[in-house]
C-alpha cells in the first residue's frame, strides 16, 4: 500500500490511543486527589501526570503553578499542547480524513462522530465533576474505534498499520506510566503509610484497567514487584509491554515481507527481552533503567517504522 496512506492510518491509531491514555491517567489522578492529603502531595500527584505525558516543559511555558485545574485544562483542551486530548483527537480525525477511502465506511463514520461529539464536551467545564464522565467517554470512543476496525476492516496492510499504531503508542504509555509512578512511589516509600501506598499502587493498576486482573492473577496484597511484572512481562495482560510486543512483532514481520529491515530486527530483540525476561533480573538491573532503555528502544523502533514503511524515502 501507499506509504502516505499507511502513515495516516498508523498515526490515526496512535493519536486515538494517546488520547485514551491521557484520559486514563487524568481520571485516576483526579480520583486520587480526592483522597485526604496535604497540598504538597497534590502538586506531586499532578506533576506525575505531566511527567507521564512528557510535557513538563510545554506546561511550564504557560502555567506558573502545578494544580489540578491547570493540568486538566492543559491536558484536555489546550490546542498548544500536542499531547492534549483535544490535539490528539483532532490529529486523529485529520489523519482519518486524508485516507477515508482506505478505511471502511463504519471506521470513518466512527471517527467523524467522535469529533462531532467532542465538540459538545468542549463547551463544558471539565475541571471538576464533569471530568470523570468525559474520561469515560474518551475511553469508550477509543474502545469503539478499535472495535470498529477489528470488526469491519479487511485483514490487509491497512489493518496492520492501524494495529501497529495502537500498540506502539500503548507500549510507550504503559512504560512511561510505570516509570514515573514507580520512581515517585519508591522515593517516598519510607515516608508513606501503608494505606496510601495501597491506594497509589491500585491507582496505577486502575489506570491501565489492571486492578481486577491483578487480584485474579496474584490474589495477594498489592506489591510493587508484582505490579511491575503484570505491566511489563505478563503476556495475557492486554496493556502490558509484552502483550503490546506480541502484537507488534508479527505485524512488522508481515508488512516487511521478505525485506530485512532494522525495524524487524529491533522489534524481535525487544520482543525477546519481554518474552524471555525474568522480573527479578529486571529488578536487579534496576526497573527504572530497564524502563528508560525500553522507552528509548521503542522510540527508535518508531523511527525505523517511519523510515522503512511510512516516510516514503527511496
Amino acid at each position: 500500500m501507499l506509504s502516505r496512506t499507511a502513515d495516516n492510518l498508523y498515526w490515526m491509531a496512535r493519536y486515538i490511543e494517546r488520547a485514551e491514555n491521557v484520559a486514563r491517567v487524568l481520571d485516576v489522578t483526579y480520583h486520587m486527589s480526592l483522597l485526604p492529603s496535604d497540598s504538597s502531595n497534590e502538586a506531586d500527584l499532578w506533576n506525575a501526570v505531566l511527567e507521564i505525558a512528557g510535557i513538563r516543559d510545554i506546561y511550564d511555558r504557560t502555567y506558573k503553578e502545578i494544580n489540578a485545574t491547570n493540568v486538566i485544562l492543559h491536558l484536555v483542551m489546550d490546542s498548544e499542547n500536542p499531547s492534549s486530548i483535544y490535539s490528539s483527537l483532532r490529529s486523529a480525525r485529520e489523519n482519518a480524513r486524508a485516507v477515508r477511502v482506505a478505511m471502511t465506511t463504519e471506521t470513518w463514520e466512527n471517527m467523524n462522530t467522535l469529533w462531532l461529539e467532542f465538540g459538545q464536551y468542549i463547551k463544558q467545564d471539565l475541571t471538576q465533576s464533569g471530568l470523570g464522565e468525559f474520561c469515560e467517554w474518551v475511553k469508550s470512543r477509543s474502545h469503539l474505534f478499535r472495535g470498529v476496525c477489528f470488526g469491519t476492516m479487511l485483514r490487509d496492510d491497512a489493518f496492520s498499520f492501524v494495529r501497529l499504531g495502537t500498540f506502539m503508542e500503548r507500549a510507550d504509555n504503559t512504560a512511561r506510566l510505570l516509570d514515573v509512578k514507580y520512581d515517585f512511589l519508591m522515593s517516598q516509600e519510607e515516608a508513606s503509610a501503608g494505606a496510601v501506598d495501597y491506594y497509589e499502587w491500585s491507582a496505577v493498576l486502575r489506570s491501565v484497567s489492571a486492578f481486577q486482573a491483578y487480584q485474579k492473577v496474584y490474589s495477594d496484597a498489592i506489591d510493587p514487584l508484582k505490579v511491575s511484572e503484570l505491566l511489563v512481562l505478563r503476556h495475557d495482560m492486554p496493556r502490558s509491554l509484552h502483550a503490546c510486543y506480541d502484537e507488534i512483532m508479527p505485524i512488522i514481520e508481515q508488512v516487511a515481507g521478505s525485506r530485512q529491515t532494522e525495524a524487524r530486527r529491533l522489534a524481535g530483540e525487544l520482543h525477546a527481552r519481554l518474552h524471555y525476561g525474568k522480573m527479578l533480573d529486571i529488578f536487579k538491573f534496576g526497573l527504572r533503567d530497564f524502563l528508560d532503555e525500553f522507552i528509548t528502544a521503542n522510540h527508535t523502533l518508531g523511527k525505523e517504522i517511519q523510515r522503512s514503511f511510512l516516510s516514503a524515502t527511496v
Binding site: 500500500m1 501507499l2 486524508a98 477515508r100 525485506r259 514503511f309
Partner: protein, 497 residues
C-alpha cells in the same frame, strides 16, 4: 403542479399538451405521490449523501465549506431511440477529436487542408511538448464528457466537449444508487439501463492503453488531494476500480520510469489516470511552483515510460475557439456527416461576427474561450444593463478571447423545488470512454438549474443533479397504454386546478 411554460420543451410534458410516452407511467405514479413524501425522500437522500461524504468544495469559500450538490428526486428520462442517436453521435465526435489531437501533434494535415487555421498552434492550450510524441493506441481523450442540451423533441446540440479532466461521473453513479434505494418500485416498472459497470469499463480501458510489453499494468489515479473540489469523485473512482489514489508526493521518477512509494518499497506505475491539469503535472516543465505534480514526469511520458490519461495537450481540442471546427473534423477524418450538431457560434475574432454580437448582446450568451465551470460568461437575456455594458468592455479589449451563441431554449424537466414540482432547465453529460474501443455507458450526468428561469446548470453556480434514466426499450409496459386515457384526464385536472 404549475403549468409548463409553453416556450420551452419539457422532457415530461413536451409543450404542455400530452405527457410524452416514456414518462406516462411515471407521471401517473407521481400524481399519486403526495409532494410531502417526495420532500421526505429528498431529505433522506441528503442525510445519506452527507453521511457518505459526497460533498464538493466551492472555490473562494471559507476553509472546510463542504457542500452537497443538490439532488433532485425526479429522474430525467431518455428513450432508447434518443439514446441510440445521442450515443452514436457522441462516440463519433470523440473519435474525430482523438484523431484531430493525433494529427495536430504530428503531421497537421487538417491545417494543410485549410480546414483549421494555422493560428490554432498559438492557442494557449496547444502543447508544443507533445509534438511527435506517440501515445498508445493514438488515444488522447480517454475520458470525454460531451455536454448536450435539447431545445425541442428532435433537436439536440453539443454545447462543449470536455477533454481535459471531465468530472461528474460519480454523481451519475451515486444518484442512481440513491434512486434505487428511494424508489425501488419504479425500477421494477421501467427498463432502466444499468450504469454501475462504468468503473469497470474505465479500468479496462486504462489497462488497455499501457505501453506495449506491459502485461499486468499498474494503474493509479492521481489527485491534487483532499482540498480539491472533486476529491470525493477521485476517491470514489479509485475505490470502485480498486486502484491506488495517489498524490504527487507519492510518485517519483527514476531511470525513465514512474514509481509510487509503498510500504513494500518503490512500485512501478504504468498508467496514470490523472485528475490534475496539465499545468500542474510536472514542475520541471509547466508551473515551476506546482506542489501537486511529479518532477520529471513529462520526460518519462514523452519517452513512453508511462501512459497519462487523459493525454497532455487535449485542451486544444475542447477549447471554445476550436469547437466551431468539430463538424468539419468529423467529415475530414471519418468521412461521415456529423450526427450531433454544434450550437451556431459567433467567433468574435472575426470582424463581422464581432459587430453582430456587440449589437445583440442582450439576446446572446457570450463565453470566454478558455473559461469553464460557468465562470466568465454573460447570459444576455438575464443580465442587467450594467452587467452587459461591463462585459462589452471586456469583449472589446480582447475579442478573440470570446465566442457568442444564441440563447438556447434549453429543455426543462419537472423538478422538486420550494414551490412544489416545477419545470427547471437541464443539460446532459454522457461520458465517452476510449481505449481499444470507444463506448458510452448508457446514462450520464443530468444537471439542473434550480433557480427559476436560470440556464446555468454548473454546480458552482447553484445547479443540482438528477438521475438519468436511459430506457432499454421504448414500450414501457402494457398497463401504460391502457391507462393512458386516465393519465391524460388526471393531467388536465391537475393543470386546470
Amino acid at each position: 403542479m404549475t403549468q409548463t411554460a409553453k416556450q420551452f420543451f419539457d422532457e415530461m410534458q413536451a409543450y404542455g399538451g400530452n405527457t410524452r410516452a416514456i414518462y406516462q407511467a411515471y407521471d401517473r405514479w407521481l400524481a399519486k405521490v403526495p409532494t410531502q413524501q417526495l420532500v421526505a425522500k429528498r431529505a433522506e437522500a441528503e442525510v445519506l449523501f452527507r453521511r457518505v461524504g459526497i460533498t464538493f468544495n466551492v472555490y473562494g469559500e471559507e476553509d472546510g465549506a463542504e457542500r452537497l450538490i443538490p439532488f433532485d428526486v425526479i429522474p430525467r428520462m431518455i428513450s432508447a431511440s434518443e439514446w441510440a442517436h445521442l450515443s452514436k453521435g457522441a462516440v463519433q465526435r470523440v473519435r474525430a477529436l482523438n484523431m484531430f489531437l493525433h494529427d495536430i501533434y504530428h503531421d497537421q494535415e487538417i491545417i494543410k487542408a485549410g480546414i483549421v487555421p494555422h493560428s490554432i498552434l498559438s492557442n494557449a492550450q496547444y502543447r508544443p511538448e507533445m509534438v511527435g510524441v506517440n501515445v498508445p493506441n493514438q488515444v488522447y481523450a480517454h475520458v470525454a464528457g460531451v455536454d448536450l442540451v435539447r431545445t425541442s423533441e428532435s433537436q439536440f446540440y453539443v454545447l462543449e466537449d470536455n477533454l481535459r479532466t471531465p468530472s461528474g461521473v460519480s454523481y451519475m453513479l451515486e444518484d442512481r444508487k440513491m434512486m434505487m434505494r428511494l424508489f425501488p418500485d419504479l425500477f421494477r416498472q421501467y427498463p432502466i439501463a444499468p450504469v454501475e459497470h462504468y468503473p469497470q469499463v474505465l479500468l479496462n480501458n486504462l489497462r488497455s492503453v499501457a505501453q506495449t510489453g506491459v502485461t499486468d499494468p499498474t494503474v493509479v489515479l492521481l489527485s491534487p488531494g483532499a482540498y480539491n473540489s472533486a476529491y470525493f469523485e477521485h476517491a470514489f473512482l479509485a475505490q470502485q476500480m480498486g486502484i491506488e489514489l495517489v498524490e504527487g508526493q507519492d510518485l517519483f521518477v527514476r531511470n525513465n520510469a514512474v514509481y509510487m512509494r509503498t510500504t513494500q518499497g518503490p512500485q512501478r506505475v504504468d498508467v496514470i489516470y490523472r485528475r490534475i491539469d496539465d499545468d500542474y503535472l510536472d514542475p520541471l516543465v509547466f508551473k515551476p511552483d506546482s506542489m501537486l505534480g511529479v518532477p520529471g514526469l513529462l520526460s518519462v511520458y514523452r519517452n513512453g515510460g508511462v501512459t497519462l490519461a487523459n493525454a497532455v495537450g487535449t485542451g486544444v481540442a475542447d477549447d471554445k475557439a476550436t469547437y466551431v471546427y468539430v463538424p468539419e473534423m468529423i467529415k475530414f477524418y471519418l468521412g461521415e456527416s456529423p450526427i450531433l450538431q454544434n450550437v451556431p457560434t459567433y467567433q468574435l475574432s472575426k470582424e463581422d461576427d464581432l459587430a453582430y454580437v456587440l449589437d445583440h448582446l442582450p439576446e446572446l450568451v457570450v463565453k470566454e474561450v478558455q473559461g469553464s465551470g460557468g465562470y466568465g460568461m454573460l447570459v444576455g437575456p438575464t443580465a442587467s444593463k450594467q452587467e452587459i455594458e461591463e462585459f462589452r468592455l471586456r469583449i472589446v479589449s480582447k475579442p478573440s478571447n470570446y465566442i457568442a451563441q444564441p440563447t438556447l431554449a434549453l429543455s426543462t424537466c419537472p423538478t422538486l423545488v420550494e414551490q412544489g414540482i416545477a419545470p427547471r432547465h437541464v443539460d446532459l453529460r454522457p461520458f465517452v470512454l476510449s481505449g481499444k474501443t470507444v463506448s458510452v455507458v448508457p446514462g450520464g450526468l443530468s444537471r439542473v438549474a434550480l433557480k427559476e428561469g436560470s440556464l446555468v446548470v454548473n454546480s458552482s453556480q447553484g445547479g443540482g443533479t438528477k438521475d438519468t434514466w436511459v430506457l432499454e426499450r421504448d414500450e414501457i409496459n402494457i398497463e401504460t397504454a391502457q391507462s393512458q386515457m386516465a393519465a391524460q384526464q388526471m393531467n388536465q385536472e391537475v393543470v386546470t386546478c
